[in-house]
Amino acid sequence: MALSLKESILVGFSDFWSRKIRAIITIFAIVLGTMSIIVVQSLVKGLQDSTLKWMMERGGLTRIDVGYNWEYDNPRNLNRYLDLREFNQVKNLIPEAEYVSPQITSWRGQISHGKNEVFGNVNGVLPDYPRIEEWKVSEGRFITNLDMNQKNDVVVIGSTLREELFGNREVIGQHITYQNRRYQVIGVMERRFFQATTSLGSDNMMEYYNRYIFIPMTTLITKTSAADEIWNFTIKASTIEETVELRQKVESILLNLRSGEPVFRITSAKEIADEMESGTIVFRIVFTIISMISLFVGGIVIMNIMMATVNERTREIGIRMAVGARRFDIFFQFLIQTLIITISGGLIGIVLGLSILDFVGEYIGIAMSGGTTMVFVSLIIAATLGLVFGMYPAIKASNLDPVRCLAYE
């Protein structure tokens, strides 16, 4: 004598379709709510993933950078750089670091090979540099300790410079000229690449690396106009856990060297990543709450419309009861109808959300992680919404008195 689930769903569907416009309007609220959940959650996750990827490209989470502190106005005019002696002092104080690599940049310099003239960024570095940057040499070799000790006139160049100066020709052993001195090319760095799409168009955010020229630091200090000034250097901790501690240690060493003044700014990739993650968590929570509110509002809209539907169909309820519908049958009929609205709204929201992600992801060049979990979570939320907000109208409908329903005009 019970109305089967299948029958209830069929009755629910035919009711649903008999009032198409109302159904579509009601669904809309749920579609928007589900869509915003999917889009926001995936967008935040995608941004986070891609920033993390960017950090890994730049040498991973164990990297610590020391450089100019822009926030410090230096009233006592202390040196904002380390000379090589000071640098070695610092390096000796942190033997636990995996590598320490200073860089002396002599900004942009003109480099030539024969008649080809290009600009590149000339850097004096130590042999450790490629290991810290996790950057490989694609041709030849990198600078060695021997090059350092002998102050050899050798260079390693970036892949773009190689193309511009030499094209497809053999490059190892060739010579380039910088500040009227000839250097032998001993290696070419691998091309570095990180795709990002900005308002200006698609771009390789790491292209400037491919215009670098590396010269042994000793050579650069002694044989060019570059001074004995190390403005930046990079340290690599051996494990992620040690990174934060090492950063603090380096900070106190540098404070000691500069009479306690924060002349240098020391940042660790690990801490930046942590900060970023806690930042996005707040962002995610805020947006989840906003989505929840919009779903809640959608739920109230549905409840309202279902109440109106129950009212409007009082007579029908009476007729159905007169021909044998039990209270549970009526309850189920209205609950199923609400569920059909919320679940189909949820499904449409998921489809729309995923297509927006596809579109937006392509546009800003970030891989969106929609994910099946997200889809299931949204569906469960939509169904729960239907159960919660459909319950009261359904109970109200099933508690009606058949005699009164039949007299209802």
Binding site: M1, E316, R320, V323, A325
Partner: protein, 229 residues
């Protein structure tokens, strides 16, 4: 045909309107046998609608006993009453009470859905009953596309489709013109001849005279049992 299908003893129905109690039925005793064609007459406010609701198991008496087809219905739960309505009672209303958004075949099918019948059986049975009532060529029509007389025939089909023990008709011709009213009364007579037990509630003497028994109700009490059969 001596089987007692419907027996009531001292049925009382009170309604409370605020603090005032209104006694709609005041001790109804009656017996209706299988195959009877009974009309219940009375002016409006006499309690005849209340009596019909109780006889049709839409409502329960305040006190007294009611046996339908051997079952003590006055003490049943609401879902059990729904099952009784489904299996043993067929209603025909003055205002037809069809569902406007469903076609007539679907309308006739509804009681069978709640009876848990398979879809194929339901379609078969509903078409057969509609055929019997001369509506076999309009199965896909909505009620609004039919005349009043045709609509009432659909309602009769819906009442008949579960083969109920009793058919309860409340002013079945009240909304119809004379011709289609007579048409419906002929159908009801026909159903009676086929062995159905029928109760018609009406205030119209012409209708009542077609029954083989007339029960008159005034102020919640039965006045007279004019047994014509």
């Amino acid at each position: 045909m001596t089987e007692e299908l419907l027996v009531t003893s001292s049925i009382v129905k009170d309604y409370s309107m605020g603090k005032i109690k209104v006694r709609a039925l005041d001790g109804i005793d009656m017996i209706i046998k299988k195959g009877d064609f009974v009309s219940i007459m009375g002016p409006s406010g006499s309690g005849k609608s209340t009596l019909m609701h109780i006889l049709g198991c839409l409502d329960t008496p305040t006190s007294g006993d009611y046996f339908l087809d051997g079952e003590q219905v006055s003490a049943l739960s609401k879902s059990r009453l729904a099952a009784i309505r489904n299996q043993k009672v067929g209603f025909v209303f003055q205002t037809f009470n069809l569902l406007p958004h469903l076609n007539i075949q679907k309308n006739v099918e509804i009681p069978l859905i709640y009876a848990g019948e398979r879809p194929r059986e339901r379609v078969k049975k509903s078409i057969a009953v509609l055929d019997q009532l001369g509506l076999g060529d309009r199965l896909k029509h909505r009620p609004t596309e039919l005349s009043g007389g045709q609509r009432q025939r659909v309602a009769i089909a819906r009442a008949l489709v579960t083969r109920p023990a009793i058919i309860l008709a409340d002013e079945p011709t009240g909304n119809l013109d004379t011709t289609s009213g007579n048409d419906i009364l002929n159908i009801i007579e026909e159903l009676h001849k086929m062995g159905n037990t029928i109760i018609v509630v009406t205030h119209d003497n012409n209708i009542a005279s077609r029954a083989n028994r007339i029960l008159k109700i005034i102020d919640g009490k039965l006045q007279k049992d004019g047994s014509l059969a």
